[in-house]
């Protein structure tokens, strides 16, 4: 039993990291530019299909295919920012509506390209690592490592670099930041590129674990949103922790309780935490 629970705790943490990378994107875009990009799941979908196309159809080795896939997602993000999102700054709900529109556009576009029938990439790194009764697929461990590395790197980069300081200055007070000489539109673009690129990476990693379908983005953006809120909007490490907590609770929860309620376990904990820390675990009051 302990083995079962331990195994699912680990596994949940890995799945949670996937939520975390989306959460990071949400936190960055909202925390820094005040834009709600609820369509991040679609950029994840783009990254996933791009990886599939390049690695499976194009015959590139998977690690090589990931990079252009992220770039493609980021490019899509850049365009949608230029075309739509930048007009929804600090207008949470209009951002939400634009996202709804984008979701419908991207989903249908990928249906035109890839059809509704799911596709599955060749197995990049098959087999599992066995520790006693616990079996963890090797690829999952790789995915986990990559995501944690990326999020931690982002954390330090934003804490140390000019861009980082600029972004937080911007988040605090855009006008002042403008005076300080932070070129805000450029910053906005940078954040948008990065967050959608991250989503693309999330998708690329996703593609190595699960089968793909055009509607895949929906679930993850919700989980990402929950994770971001749980960790506290604006907190980078918070997004990782939020995701991991969510994943672990879902995993362990469905060991002891019916699987049909899996999503409810995460939500219940989310609510409970928000009541005691209204701005998330790591969010500042």
């Amino acid at each position: 039993m302990t083995q079962l629970v331990l195994g699912q705790a680990l596994n949940g943490a890995i799945i949670g990291a996937m939520y975390g990378i989306i959460a990071l994107g949400i936190t960055l875009t909202f925390g820094i530019t005040g834009i709600v990009n609820f369509a991040l799941g679609e950029f994840m979908m783009i990254g996933a299909y791009a990886t599939y196309a390049l690695a499976d159809r194009g015959g590139l080795p998977y690690p090589v295919a990931v990079v252009p896939a992220c770039l493609i997602a980021a490019a899509a993000g850049y365009l949608s920012n230029k075309a739509f999102f930048r007009f929804t700054r600090n207008n949470l709900v209009n951002g939400l509506l634009v996202s709804i529109g984008l979701i419908s556009i991207f989903e249908s576009a990928s249906m035109l390209l890839w059809t509704a029938t799911p596709v599955e990439m060749h197995f990049v790194l098959p087999g599992a690592l066995r520790l006693g009764d616990i079996g963890l697929p090797k690829m999952k461990l790789v995915v986990f490592a990559v995501i944690v590395a990326v999020i931690v790197a982002t954390y330090f980069a934003l804490a140390r670099t000019w861009l980082g300081r600029a972004s937080f200055a911007y988040a605090q007070n855009p006008e002042a930041a403008m005076l300080m000489g932070v070129h805000t539109p450029r910053l906005e673009t940078a954040v948008m590129l990065y967050s959608t690129g991250l989503a693309g990476l999330g998708g690329a990693l996703y593609a190595s674990l699960y089968s793909l379908e055009p509607a895949m983005g929906g679930v993850y953006v919700l989980k990402g949103m929950e994770a971001a809120i749980l960790g506290g909007i604006g907190s980078l490490m918070g997004s990782l922790w939020g995701g991991v907590i969510l994943g672990v609770i879902e995993g362990v929860g469905s060991i002891f309780l019916p699987t049909a309620f899996r999503d409810a376990y995460g939500l219940a904990v989310l609510v409970a935490i928000l009541l005691f820390r209204p701005s998330g675990l790591f969010g500042d009051e």
Partner: protein
């Protein structure tokens, strides 16, 4: 370009009242399927099969009934899987376009929402649906407009009993773990198979998962701890691939039993699986070589859609709808009318169509046709059994 065509037509008929659709020499077939959205797989494929058949027939100059040659006009609408959309669309098809033959729906929630309206046109309408829940209504009084185009696990013509017998006889399975998505399909499978397992004294457990789940490791681990002989997973490909992969990857569960679903996941993980027993309406990879009709179908599919042929679960929808269009045409010829669905239905009930499948309808109006049972062994060794209930 937003054409307000439908609205305009509607406005015109307001004055005249619904047109009696003696549309010159065109037979209108309406279709309500989810072509986009989360549950689009079935609807999308079936609408492809229909479109393909209609295109072939029209290119071939249409078909003759009596001394008149008819072409088919297919009006395929996308319900997005939303009952609300579908209700409006069906009304449009019947009232504005005057279609008397409706293909679809494949989704039970959509069917249940459009049923009352369609019922108002009982005898003046023929609805070819695949939805599981049509089974509860087809052949009952007031539902003579229904034809169930899909085969059924339960009942004397069904394949469920046969599959389970087969399983028990050949493998001596005693413990079966079911893992279904929590939706109509899953619930219906429970209603059918739980009693069967009980009757056969098979020990079973049943877990449901939220539609949209991609990672099953938790529930699979839970199931593995129960040590079943076979895992009986949910059928939609979007889950099947992940379930089979994750179950075999961790080496916990390697024997699978599927009554709906496709061979693809098994083949993909052929080195991981112990055994993979699946019901398939047709094992296309094999049939393509043996049956010219199938070969022709696959070829024209590729030409028409400029796309590889998806050999997986999907073809069964497209192929069967493809056959159904031809079958409908045959029935019209036999009945000698295109305007009287009741007569056409009578003709259908008394005929057997010999297409890619041998299809006939039982007394209730449910399709009965031949299917294959495929057993896949570790390493990819295949054993196909052809079964023909006709």
């Amino acid at each position: 370009m937003i054409t307000v065509r439908s609205l305009v037509i509607a406005l015109t008929i307001l004055v005249l009242g619904p047109l009696s659709a003696n549309a010159q020499d065109v037979v209108k077939i309406g279709q309500i399927e989810a072509q986009t959205g989360a549950n689009a797989i079935y609807g999308w494929m079936s609408s492809q099969g229909t479109a393909l058949a209609v295109d072939e027939i029209n290119k071939g100059g249409g078909f003759k009934v009596g001394n008149k040659t008819y072409k088919i006009q297919l009006i395929a609408l996308d319900t997005r899987g939303e009952p609300k959309e579908a209700t409006v669309q069906l009304k449009r098809l019947v009232e504005v376009d005057g279609a008397k033959y409706i293909f679809g729906p494949f989704l039970s929630n959509v069917f249940l929402a459009v049923r009352p309206y369609a019922g108002e046109f009982n005898g003046k309408l023929l609805m070819w649906g695949g939805a599981t829940r049509i089974h509860d209504y087809v052949g009952t009084p007031g539902h003579e407009f229904l034809m169930r185009t899909w085969n059924w696990d339960a009942g004397k013509n069904g394949f469920g009993e046969l599959m389970v017998d087969n399983l028990v006889k050949t493998t001596g399975a005693k413990k079966i773990a079911m893992l279904f998505q929590n939706d109509q399909g899953g619930k219906v499978l429970e209603d059918i198979y739980v009693p069967m397992f009980k009757a056969k004294g098979i020990e079973y457990r049943l877990d449901y998962f939220e539609p949209g789940t991609k990672d099953f490791s938790a529930v699979l681990a839970k199931i593995a701890a129960w040590k079943p002989d076979f895992l009986f997973p949910s059928y939609a490909d979007s889950y099947l691939y992940d379930i089979v992969r994750q179950a075999t990857e961790s080496g916990q569960l390697t024997k699978f039993f599927l009554v709906r679903g496709s061979l693809g996941p098994g083949l993909k993980n052929k080195d991981g699986i112990g055994e993979y027993m699946v019901y398939v309406p047709k094992y296309f990879e094999e049939a393509e070589k043996k049956d010219p009709k199938v070969a022709k179908f696959i070829k024209s599919y590729k030409d028409f859609y400029k796309r590889d042929f998806p050999y997986d679960q999907a073809p069964l929808c497209s192929a069967s709808c493809y056959d159904h269009v031809y079958m409908l045409v045959e029935a019209m010829k036999k009945a000698g009318t295109v305007d009287d669905p009741a007569a056409v239905r009578k003709a259908l009930m008394s005929m057997t169509y010999d297409g890619m499948w041998r299809i006939r309808f039982d007394e209730k109006g449910e399709a009965v046709f031949n299917f294959d049972v495929v057993r896949l062994k570790k390493g990819g060794a295949l054993e196909v059994t052809h079964i023909n209930p006709n």
